[in-house]
C-alpha cells in the first residue's frame, strides 16, 4: 500500500543548510544577510545553502510587500513555504485521539478528535490510521504531499527507536509504535513523548524561539515538564526527564499514586483537584470543569483548593529554575482553564522559592488549545523530516 511513491527527503545535507532552514522556520522571512547573522554564517554560505532549498520548493523569496525605507539594493527576504508539504500530528491520550494536519511551518490546517474506547495496540493503530486518512482526505491541497506522521504519547518513549517503552495511561509496554504506524499509514513515523513534542513546537514556533535554555510546564491531568538545555531538548539517560509531577513539595501532603506524598501532581493534577474539591465542598464534582465552576461560584473552601494547587505548581517551577537556571518557563496545558484561580499563587510561590538569580527567570503562561499537543507531534515529525539523511530515508531496500 505504498501509495505515496518513494519517500521524499530533505535536500539539506550540510550543517549550514540545516541551520539556515531552522533559522528561517523560527524567525519568519529573513533576508540572506539577516539569516547569516542570526545563524553565525557568512552571507555566501547562506546563498549557497538557500539555493537548493528554493529549487526544491521548501523556501521561497517573499514578494516584496512593504515599501522599503532604506537606501541601497532592496532586501530580498526568504521564507519557508509552508504549503510545500503537510504533516500529520497525533496525540494519543487514554480516552481520546487528537489529530492535526499542519503545513511545513507547523500551522494547523485541520483538526479532528475521536474518542478512544479500546486501548489495545491494534485498536489504537486502527483509530490512528483512520484519523490520518480523514485528515489527508480533508485537505483539499491537491498535490501537496504529506511527508510525515508524528505520534505523541505520554510516558517513557524512545524516539530514536520509535518504541513506547511504557505508557501508564495506555497500559503499553515496549510497543514498536513507529514501525506499526508506518505500516498502517505508509508514512514515515516519528514517535515521541508528548511533553517533549510540545517542547519542540515551543522551541521552534512558540515562546522558546531563540532561547537555548527554557522549560515548558504543562498543567492538566498530569503535571509535565519539557526542558531545553544548551539548545537541545533533554531526553535523559534513560529516556525519561522532566518528571516535575513527582517532585515532592509537601511530605505531609496527600498520597500520590507513585507511592509518595505531596507530589505536585498529587496536589495540582486534575484528579487531585477534583477529589479535594469533593472533600472540601461535600458536593458531587464530575470533572475539572465542574471544579473550576465551583471555585468561580465562590463556594467556601473551593478557592483554597486552587490556591494550594497553584502553590504546588509554583514550587515545582521554582525547583526547575533553581536546578537549571532557564531563561524562561512556559506554563501551559488544559489546566490553564483555571489559570485565574491560581495565577497569583504560582507567582508568589515561585518568587518565594526561587533562589537568587533563578528568580530572574521569566515565567510566562501560554493558554494553548488542546490541539497544541498534536501540533507538537507534527513538529517532531517535521524535525525528523528535515534532519533525515538520504541514507536512512531510502525507500529502496
Amino acid at each position: 500500500m505504498r501509495s505515496t511513491s518513494r519517500t521524499e527527503t530533505f535536500p539539506a545535507h550540510t550543517p549550514a543548510a540545516s541551520q539556515v532552514f531552522t533559522t528561517l522556520l523560527s524567525h519568519g522571512p529573513l533576508t540572506r544577510l539577516a539569516a547569516a547573522r542570526r545563524a553565525g554564517l557568512s552571507p555566501a554560505a547562506v546563498t549557497k545553502a538557500v539555493r537548493p532549498l528554493i529549487e526544491a520548493g521548501y523556501l521561497v523569496e517573499d514578494a516584496d510587500d512593504e515599501p522599503r525605507a532604506a537606501l541601497g539594493r532592496p532586501a530580498n527576504p526568504v521564507r519557508v513555504d509552508g504549503s510545500r508539504a503537510l504533516f500529520v500530528g497525533v496525540k494519543v491520550t487514554g480516552d481520546e485521539i487528537i489529530g492535526v494536519l499542519t503545513d511545513l511551518c507547523c500551522r494547523i490546517r485541520l483538526a479532528r478528535r475521536v474518542p478512544l474506547t479500546d486501548r489495545a495496540t491494534r485498536a489504537v493503530l486502527a483509530s490512528v490510521a483512520d484519523l490520518v486518512h480523514d485528515l489527508r482526505a480533508g485537505a483539499d491541497d491537491i498535490g501537496v504531499p504529506v511527508l510525515g506522521l508524528g505520534v505523541a504519547v505520554s510516558g517513557d518513549v524512545d524516539r530514536a527507536e520509535g518504541v513506547v517503552r511504557y505508557s501508564p495511561f495506555l497500559e503499553w509496554r515496549d510497543v514498536p509504535l513507529a514501525e506499526l504506524a508506518a505500516m498502517t499509514t505508509g508514512l514515515p513515523v516519528t514517535v515521541d513523548n508528548d511533553v517533549r513534542a510540545l517542547t519542540i513546537a515551543e522551541q521552534w514556533f512558540g515562546a522558546g524561539v531563540g532561547l537555548s535554555d527554557f522549560a515548558v510546564v504543562t498543567v492538566g491531568a498530569g503535571i509535565g515538564c519539557g526542558l531545553v538545555v544548551h539548545g537541545r531538548v533533554v531526553a535523559g539517560a534513560h529516556g525519561v526527564a522532566g518528571e516535575i509531577g513527582h517532585v515532592a513539595v509537601d511530605p505531609a501532603g496527600p498520597p500520590c499514586h507513585c507511592g509518595n506524598r505531596g507530589c505536585v501532581e498529587a496536589i495540582a493534577g486534575d484528579a487531585a483537584i477534583v477529589a479535594r474539591m469533593r472533600e472540601v465542598t461535600g458536593r458531587k464534582v464530575a470533572d475539572s470543569a465542574a471544579a473550576v465552576a465551583l471555585a468561580h461560584q465562590g463556594l467556601p473552601g473551593a478557592r483554597e483548593v486552587y490556591a494550594r494547587a497553584g502553590e504546588a505548581i509554583g514550587r515545582g517551577i521554582a525547583t526547575v529554575a533553581n536546578l537549571f537556571g532557564p531563561e524562561r518557563v512556559i506554563i501551559s496545558g488544559e489546566g490553564l482553564a483555571a489559570y485565574d484561580l491560581f495565577a497569583e499563587q504560582i507567582r508568589d510561590a515561585f518568587a518565594a522559592a526561587a533562589f537568587g538569580s533563578a528568580a530572574r527567570c521569566d515565567v510566562q503562561t501560554r493558554p494553548l488549545p488542546f490541539e497544541e499537543w498534536a501540533r507538537g507531534a507534527a513538529a517532531a515529525a517535521i524535525q525528523s523530516f528535515i534532519t533525515s539523511t538520504p541514507a536512512d530515508g531510502s525507500g529502496k531496500g
Copy 2:
C-alpha cells in the same frame, strides 16, 4: 611583571584535535586506533591530530610496557604527558584558601592551605598571589611551565567574563577576579563557580568520565549540585544552576537563610546539623566534627539528626534525577565524613522519591578530599588552556 615570557597556546586548532586530546586525557593511554573509535573519527584523522601535539610535547608515545598478546604489529599507545605543563588551582572559601599544583593530567603535585582572615578583595588577592608563588616555588620541576591558574569561588560566577557576580560567603559583588588575579600572578586566570569546577574535574578525570548526563552533589557547609547535560556543564541562562541546596523538601522544616522553610541545606547543611545537634542533645557542639562524634557515640537523638539529613539529601537527589534523568549521581563533599551516618537514608529516600526510570540512575559516593575542590579549579584552568585559541591568547598587541 610579565615574568612568564609570552603566553603559551595549545596547538589543537581543529575540532578533531581537541576531541582526540580530551579523549586521551580521560581515557588514559590509547592506541591511535582505539582513540579513533572512541572519538568517532577515522584513524587517519587521529594520526594527523596527534602529530603536532606530540611535537609540542603534550602527548607522548608510551614506552611499550606489557608484552602484547595479540598478533600483528604492536600497538603504540599515546598518552598525555602530564609533566609537560603545570597548573595551579585555588579554592577560596570564607575562611580558608586551598591551593594545589597539578600537572597537565590534573594530578596533584603539591597542596597548601592558608587561613583567610580578611575577605576584602585586595587581601584575598594578596593571599592568592602568595599561595600561587609558594606552589610555584615548591615545584622542583625546573623547566616545566605553569600555564594557568584556576580560581573556584562559591556563588554566582560568570566564567566567560571572569567576574564574580555575587559571592555570599565572601560578600563580594561584581569583582573582576580573573583580571585582577592575572595582574598579580602573571598567569592566565580562569574563574568559575566551585561546584562547576569540581564537576569539570569529575567529567574529565573522575566518575563522570564517558557520561553525557550526570550530576555531582556536594554535601558540606552548603549543598551544591553540578549538572552535565548533553556532555556539557550546565551554567544556566543567568550563570546560576544546580541550586539543589534550596530545593524545599519539607515545607514544615526549619527556616533557611534564603527565606524559605525546609530547604535541603537548612536540614542537611553543616550549620543546620550542628544547630540541630545542640538542640537535640543539649550539649555544646563546636563544629560538624563534634556533631559526627556525638552521633557515633550513640547519644539519644543524635543519629536521628543525621537520618533526617540523609533523607533530605536523598530527596534532593531524587528531584534532580526526576527532572534530568542523569545516568549517574556522584555524591561528594566534606560532609561525606558522616557518610556512614546517613548513607542508608539517602538511598532509601532516593529510591522512594525517584519516579520510574529515574530510579535506574546510579548513585555513587566519592569521598573526595578537600583539595579536590582546588583540583577542580585546576581542571577549569586546563580546560581553558586547551580550548584557548591563538587569537585570544596572543601576547602581542
